[in-house]
């Protein structure tokens, strides 16, 4: 029996070898004799692309080594961030699960898993992973970064603050600075946030152009949100320079042009951005500009695209409800669907922006008391965001609390008079109407108001 077993094994090895050489023959016959590097090349790939190729080559060579999968996951996450393509998060996830299947406690893999979970908006799961990691790596600054990220999306801002404080104590650097800047912004300290973000921009390595460009856009956004268009524009220009074809920089620049009422340029820039990544918020902004410039058909085309993406996202269970729901509320369409989306989103995410969008959808759906409650949640940190105060003002207006409405709308326009073309216009009109009513009201013969009117 042993002999026949041996024979069988030997036989199958012979066949195996022959089979492989046969394949090799078939595969290599037509390969060109020399494939060395040719004439100077134009680089169309990014550092993330090159990292991806290297990781793939490593895996091909040593499929049993974890290093290759870690490198692949890291490169995929980078690529997902720069391209806006979720497909890369899925690749990263597969690489990580391959490691975790063999070694469920591999710290580096868990760290990347938490990162992917945040990227895919699985915040509760990310928090769990990060908590698990903290047990294992109590002195790793990255763990506290991710821990704070997850807490922030879940609206647990005290925990966010302590996690990020620990992070910056362990390792000061652009990753910690940008997070602290975000936290300061949330608490309404725009000045401190801007300073911190400037530190992050100065500290980042130029060898990571995508992160550099991302920080520059964040920095520019902080200035834009305070109505300082020139500084913001310079930051976006620089971002575009360090990382060409960066859709976030292009869209940010489009927003500046729209604020400057240079609509034709804004439209062109938005078109560029949307051609790179058709993100629903950018398509909606482009539609609004068409609408503003009297091109309703072009506007409707963009709006139809947003609706299409919403449908596709539902099919693929991609959790980007907030952008879509916000769009529906802005345009008074599909309000039932928007409400449904946001009520589900609130289960997943309890940060102030989720409450803001939820409040806006409630307001449009006519549920003003719910809207006000949600809005109180959104404003609980005292964030100086024009859009938030605009929403709050409109809700107060709907509830007939005209003084509050007036104050809040004025506050929105004071924070940033350019915050968004259509809402800013609506804010001004409503404010003007309120002020004229207030003047009438202060006159001896007062005019009574009907609650819920206007909007």
């Amino acid at each position: 029996m042993a002999l026949s077993l041996r024979c069988q094994l030997m036989g199958s090895y012979t066949v195996r070898l022959l089979g492989l050489s046969l394949l090799a023959l078939a595969l290599t016959t037509r390969t060109s004799p020399a494939c060395a590097a040719a004439a100077p090349q134009v680089r169309t790939d990014t550092p993330a692309d090159r990292a991806l190729q290297t990781a793939a080559a490593f895996i091909a060579q040593w499929p049993q080594q974890h290093e290759g999968y870690i490198a692949l996951a890291k490169a995929s996450i980078r690529k997902a961030r720069e391209s806006g393509d979720d497909g890369y998060y899925q690749r990263a996830e597969r690489a990580i699960h391959r490691i975790l299947a063999q070694q469920p406690d591999a710290s580096e893999a868990l760290l990347l898993l938490a990162w992917i979970q945040i990227g895919q908006h699985q915040f509760a799961a990310a928090l769990k992973t990060a908590e698990r990691l903290r047990q294992r790596l109590p002195n790793d600054y990255q763990v506290y970064g991710l821990l704070g990220d997850a807490h922030a999306e879940l609206g647990q801002y005290d925990q966010t603050a302590s996690a990020w404080q620990r992070m910056i104590d362990l390792r000061p650097g652009p990753a910690a600075y940008s997070r602290i800047a975000y936290l300061r912004k949330l608490y309404g300290d725009m000045q401190g946030a801007t300073e911190m973000m400037a530190m992050a921009v100065r500290a980042v390595s130029p060898r990571d152009p995508e992160t550099y460009a991302w920080l520059l856009v964040q920095y520019g956004d902080l200035h834009f949100e305070q109505g300082r268009l020139k500084v913001a524009e310079a930051a976006y220009e620089k971002a575009h320079h360090v990382f060409p074809a960066y859709h976030r920089a292009v869209a940010a620049m489009a927003r500046i042009r729209a604020a400057q009422q240079r609509y034709a340029e804004a439209i062109e820039l938005y078109q560029q951005a949307v051609n790179i990544v058709p993100a629903p918020d950018m398509i909606a902004a482009l539609g609004d500009l068409y609408h503003l410039t009297g091109q309703p058909e072009a506007a409707e085309q963009q709006y139809a695209q947003v609706a299409f993406i919403a449908r596709l996202d539902t099919l693929n269970a991609i959790p980007y409800s907030r952008q879509v729901a916000h769009f529906y509320a802005d345009h008074d369409r599909n309000l039932d669907a928007a409400l449904n989306m946001m009520e589900r989103e609130r289960e997943n995410r309890q940060d102030i922006n989720t409450y803001d969008t939820l409040a806006w959808v409630y307001y449009k759906a006519g549920r003003l008391n719910d809207a006000q409650k949600a809005m109180q949640q959104a404003l609980r940190l005292g964030t100086q965001d024009a859009l938030l105060w605009y929403h709050a003002g409109m809700i107060a207006h709907g509830l007939g609390r005209f003084d509050t409405a007036q104050a809040q709308l004025r506050r929105a326009l004071d924070i940033n008079p350019y915050f968004s073309p259509l809402p800013a216009r609506r804010a001004r009109l409503t404010l003007a109407e309120l002020e004229s009513t207030a003047r009438l009201q202060s006159a001896p013969t007062s005019v009574s108001h009907t609650a819920g009117e206007g909007s």
Binding site: P33, A39, T44, L312
Partner: protein
């Protein structure tokens, strides 16, 4: 009728097994997200011209945008599509740069095609295929070095699978090329999903080549499509998503020449034949059964075919399972377990056969001619002994033939299709590492279609040998039967022995699997 029913259900099992490889559960339609635009360019350089096969595969969102902008009806061949294609061919041409020795070449549209395969939620996606051609300027001495540069500037910055290949046709030799000659996505019809294959991001190509065959200005460019493959446009939607594709479409016809394919298939067939002769394979069962029972030539043929079909399906299935499971575990660790499972299965079948034969010996095998096998076995332990006897007594064949048919009518239940099926499956189900390795290597090397075809050729070789052995057994026994007595003891023992052997074989397989899984340790 009964036979037909079994045959059909068996075919169904095979078809489902093969079809399993292509269920959407295995992969997505596109390698990236639903706004990706995938690019593919195949440069084919001949002494007269450069052909650019340009393909774009648009995911759901860009497809929606295209439909919206162009207002076309998403059906291939619809007049609106024809109009759109003419425009698109011209638009995309503007985004393609082709230069020879720094001199830009004008591209001419030769053909254009659009397909609308369904994507997520049956929403359409769009696949465009264009063939552009540029005449190669005939200046420079024959044999002089020429430089080609190609760049694709369409949809800059949009995420996607971006692949370029360049192929030298006869009369052209590449000196250097920045791109490969074979593609990884089968012209965007089949994106590899394993982690070693990250989506390529190649949008330009540099090739230096020499033209060897330009003799005395004889070769003036002809614009008519010359070879069949220029017009061959795969019409299938992405195979990951759609019903089982045909073998022909799975292959990448442009990167493997017919000669190489025929050679490879021939070698694979030879390997299959060789494989069938390996000890311990299905042929043991075939031979044991045909000699042990009252088999006819037709039975031998059926048995050979069933073994082969089971074997092929087994390899495909095991390949599919391995590929699927390899996302979670390492194949090297998986294989022993699969072997153990098959071993268990075979042991079970062996025990079942043993029991069946033990219970049915008196009835079924009373008049069978098993002693021929038994006789040779007893004396020499060599199967060839049977053939030697056969050659020694060729003159009895006619007589026996009639005799056998008589038996067939008297005991029609001796060989049922059900028994053939059981045996064939038992013999064929043994997972065959060689064939599996060929298949998995093909998958790893992005030649799944070719790998599947190789397995078919492999199995054909296997079938040929198994059928030949079966026929030998059948005829050899007929030659012999009339001269040997019908010993009841041997008649009873032989089928039991063969069933026992099958059982032992299964047990050995389990043991072997457990040893390689590191659970059992033997010191021989």
């Amino acid at each position: 009728m009964r036979t037909k029913w079994w045959a059909w259900s068996f075919m169904m099992v095979v078809a489902i097994g093969v079809g399993m490889l292509w269920t959407p559960a295995f992969s997505l339609a596109h390698p990236l997200g639903n706004f990706s635009i995938n690019h593919y360019s195949r440069l084919r350089i001949t002494p007269e011209h450069v052909d650019v096969r340009y393909r774009l595969d648009l995911a759901e969102i860009p497809t929606f945008q295209t439909l919206q902008k162009s207002g076309i009806t998403p059906e291939s061949g619809h007049p609106s599509v024809t109009r759109y294609l003419a425009e698109a061919a011209a638009t995309f041409k503007e985004g393609l740069i082709l230069e020879i020795d720094g001199q830009p070449l004008a591209l001419r549209v030769i053909e254009q095609e659009a397909l609308f395969p369904p994507g997520a939620g049956e929403l359409p996606t769009l696949k465009l295929s264009f063939l552009y051609r540029a005449l190669l300027p005939q200046n420079g001495a024959p044999g002089s070095l020429r430089r080609l540069r190609y760049q694709d500037e369409n949809f800059p910055g949009r995420t996607g699978w971006k692949e370029i290949i360049a192929i030298p046709e006869s009369g052209i030799a590449f000196r250097q090329s920045s791109v490969p000659v074979t593609d990884r996505s089968q012209q965007l019809s089949h994106y590899p999903t394993d982690l070693q294959q990250s989506p390529p991001q190649v949008l330009d190509a540099h090739v230096t080549f020499v033209s060897a065959a330009t003799a005395d200005g004889e070769t003036i460019a002809s614009l008519a499509p010359q070879s069949g493959d220029i017009t061959a446009v795969p019409r299938q939607p992405n195979q990951q998503e759609i019903s089982p594709p045909s073998m022909a479409s799975l292959m990448a016809p442009d990167s493997l020449s017919l000669r190489v394919i025929i050679m490879a298939l021939t070698v694979a067939m030879g390997l299959g034949a060789f494989h069938a002769l390996e000890p311990g394979h299905g042929k043991t069962v075939v031979a044991a059964y045909l000699v042990g029972a009252r088999g006819t030539a037709q039975h031998a043929l059926w048995l050979g075919l069933i073994v082969t079909a089971t074997h092929t399906a087994g390899v495909y299935l095991l390949g599919a399972v391995t590929l699927f499971a390899s996302a979670y575990i390492v194949p090297e660790q998986l294989y022993p377990w699969l072997s153990a499972v098959s071993g268990l299965l075979i042991t079970g079948l062996g025990i079942y056969l043993f029991w069946q034969r033990y219970a049915g010996t008196s009835g079924t095998y009373t008049h069978s001619d098993d002693h021929v096998y038994g006789h040779s076995h007893a004396h020499t332990h060599a199967h060839d002994h049977v053939f030697a006897h056969a050659h020694a007594h060729p003159h009895t064949s006619g007589h026996h033939h009639a005799d056998h048919e008589h038996h067939g009518h008297v005991h029609p239940a001796n060989v049922t299709f059900r028994q053939l099926l059981t045996l064939g499956v038992t013999g064929g189900i043994v997972p065959c590492p060689a064939a599996l390795v060929v298949l998995l290597s093909a998958v790893a090397l992005q030649r799944i279609g070719f790998g599947l075809l190789l397995i078919v050729a492999f199995s054909t070789g296997l079938a040929a040998v198994l059928i030949a052995i079966g026929l030998f057994m059948v005829y050899a026994r007929r030659f012999m039967s009339h001269f040997q007595g019908e010993g009841h003891l041997i008649t009873r023992w032989l089928p039991l022995t063969s069933a026992a052997l099958i059982t032992v074989f299964g047990v050995v397989m389990i043991g072997q699997a457990l040893v390689s899984a590191g659970i059992l340790a033997f010191h021989l």
